[in-house]
Subunit: 363 residues, 2 copies
């Protein structure tokens, strides 16, 4: 039962501007440490999935950056989507490639831009997921919530799977999924937290190649048809052409909405491995150590009488923050951002404005 | 009755770091517009005091900068203090130079780093001050307060001078000074404002050279002795040596405390010419136009959903401020400051820390 890790690196968000740019989105930034998030993601996989069984899916403008960051990634394991079509076509394409090597091979779908504080527990959860997925289930990894977070989707845990039991530390047993829940408001989030039967939807999935292709066939026949046309060319010279023709015609849909939420074969593996989706600069304190005053700093930063600030001063000059609380200050060299932490979601507005102003060099 | 303007440019404050540095203190910065405050100060003097009757007093490390900014200033009108000794010795030295040209010549002592929004009204006030000073009074210019400012000293207005009357616009008549008041707390400041009989102490003085030298003789005999030794050498080759010997031995005292507050010859000319001492970055909105949201910006700044911010982005890169209120963000190229406006006084703490860290290039 071999696990094939599929790292989804096709994102192009703007919430980490000015560090992130079109050619260098979030997954290429060293937000949680010294390495880009993508490199961290791949590094935590062995021995579960060695580099030979690791795939990376990305867009054409990022292929070169992926090869630079992951020089040991086999050439054929870099899957380049001609255009971004959300996660369902991405999953389908990866499943085709894995199925060709092993029809019942197991895929672990991993966002390239998340953070994991405890890799060993992460691998344990994936291994458990793979064991359950081997039996035909589509497994999602559910993270035990530690706070009433309103920025994540949740899932409600159903009955434990037959023969599974709660693991050490009071974690829930692998179980059926009762329902998926969209990002809640604060009151709902607190309800979910105290209820104990809700988990964060991590966006990490584990399933057999044949099982997910079956499910796509059932739930997204249009996508299945396009994938079928690509599948015929796998390993031949016609592949590139077929991909360029079929992939852009795939429906742009998330695997969550397109398949998971409509499937009856969903199971969840509850886990707690210090997960964060690093959703914005406001999440940096979740993934980097803060000082006693709650400040997270890097580079040439000087914080005086300040607390709970995020100051990333790697732009080649001193950044001094005096008497401030809860600010994000990020220097990218050619551009600098100042923003209250609770407004970190709005950083994209700056990018929108720069687009309007046609300041392409800064986008 | 000729007016000799004496511009005091010896300041070395750190509250405008990172724009201000040791070699480039506040008076050399274009804080209120395109020109350095010193240049603005000299530019608003004619026809009251043409450049030939304008003196600038500064320290040795700033003499070159003064000459660069004021190329038309006569060489002999640049008075270089060997060391800074507060304003009393500065006033005394200037009075010696003016007295040599005209013993009863009138001096208008002007801080180099203040802002005046309405230069014509400023000149009217100085002219009135000169008229009154010609009779032997020591005149201070008192500014009609527009808000309960706690950052300024005040003076309480006494009886109107004989023959003087209130000018147009309800301004108080030139008057005796009842007392000088230190920076008040908020409650006191509001009391002064509603009382109507208090004015801001602008630090601008007008007096005859012989009168102020008399007063120094009376109130500060030690200073008078040193000045006397310098006076003997004026216009001779021995001057530089005498200055280097005597000036450092002068008591370091302000003219306010050393002379003004102990003199019985003090008069005040109330005026309202849009004055600000530009005390910190928090005062920038007093001297530069704000946009509709109250933001004052310069350079390559982008403010989104922000209000009441001061963003000086002349450091050669974009500074984007998103969702912030009441911040000061100042980019000097090699260093950048972020600070809440109400903490702008604490900018000097950053300079202290840089001194401790021996980061001389940034101080």
């Amino acid at each position: 039962m071999k696990i094939h890790a599929v790292v989804m690196a096709g994102g192009s968000g703007t919430r980490f501007w000015p560090l992130s740019r079109r050619a260098r989105p979030k997954q290429f930034l060293p937000l949680a440490g010294k390495l880009p998030l993508l490199a961290d993601t791949v590094k935590r996989l062995p021995p579960l999935a060695p580099i030979g069984r690791t795939y990376v899916v990305c867009g054409p403008i990022h292929a070169r950056a992926v090869r630079t960051i992951l020089p040991k990634l086999p050439k054929e394991n870099l899957l380049v989507e001609p255009v971004a079509r959300n996660t369902a076509p991405c999953v389908g394409l990866a499943a085709l490639h894995v199925a060709r090597r092993a029809p019942d091979g197991i895929l672990a779908m991993l966002p390239a831009d998340h953070h994991v504080a405890r890799p060993e527990q992460f691998r344990d959860a994936i291994a458990t997921g793979a064991r359950i997925a081997a039996g035909g289930a589509i497994v999602t990894i559910g993270v035990t919530p530690s706070r009433p977070e309103t920025g994540y989707g949740y899932l409600e845990v159903g009955a434990p799977l037959p023969g599974e039991s709660a693991v050490a530390g009071g974690q829930l047993a692998p179980a059926r999924v009762k329902r998926f829940v969209e990002k809640p408001d604060r009151a709902k989030a607190e309800e979910y937290l105290s209820d104990g039967g809700y988990l964060w939807n991590s966006g990490i999935f584990v399933f057999r190649a044949d099982v997910i292709l079956d499910e796509i066939q059932r739930a997204m026949p249009e996508l299945a048809k396009r994938l079928g046309a690509i599948a015929e060319t796998l390993g031949t010279r016609a592949y590139a052409k077929a991909l360029a023709r079929e992939f852009p015609a795939c429906p742009s849909e998330s695997i969550d909405y397109g398949v998971m939420e409509r499937s009856s074969r969903i199971a969840v593996v509850p886990a707690d491995f210090g997960w964060s989706d690093v959703g914005s600069f406001a999440a940096i304190p979740e993934v980097r150590a803060a000082d006693e005053a709650g400040n997270v700093v890097s580079g040439d930063a000087l914080v005086i009488d300040g607390k709970d600030n995020v100051v990333l001063a790697d732009g080649g000059r001193l950044v001094a923050v005096v008497g401030a609380t809860g600010l994000v200050v990020v220097d990218a060299g050619d551009a600098l951002l100042v923003c209250p932490r609770e407004r970190a979601q709005d950083v994209k507005k700056a990018v929108d404005e720069l687009k309007r102003l046609r300041r392409d060099a800064l986008i």
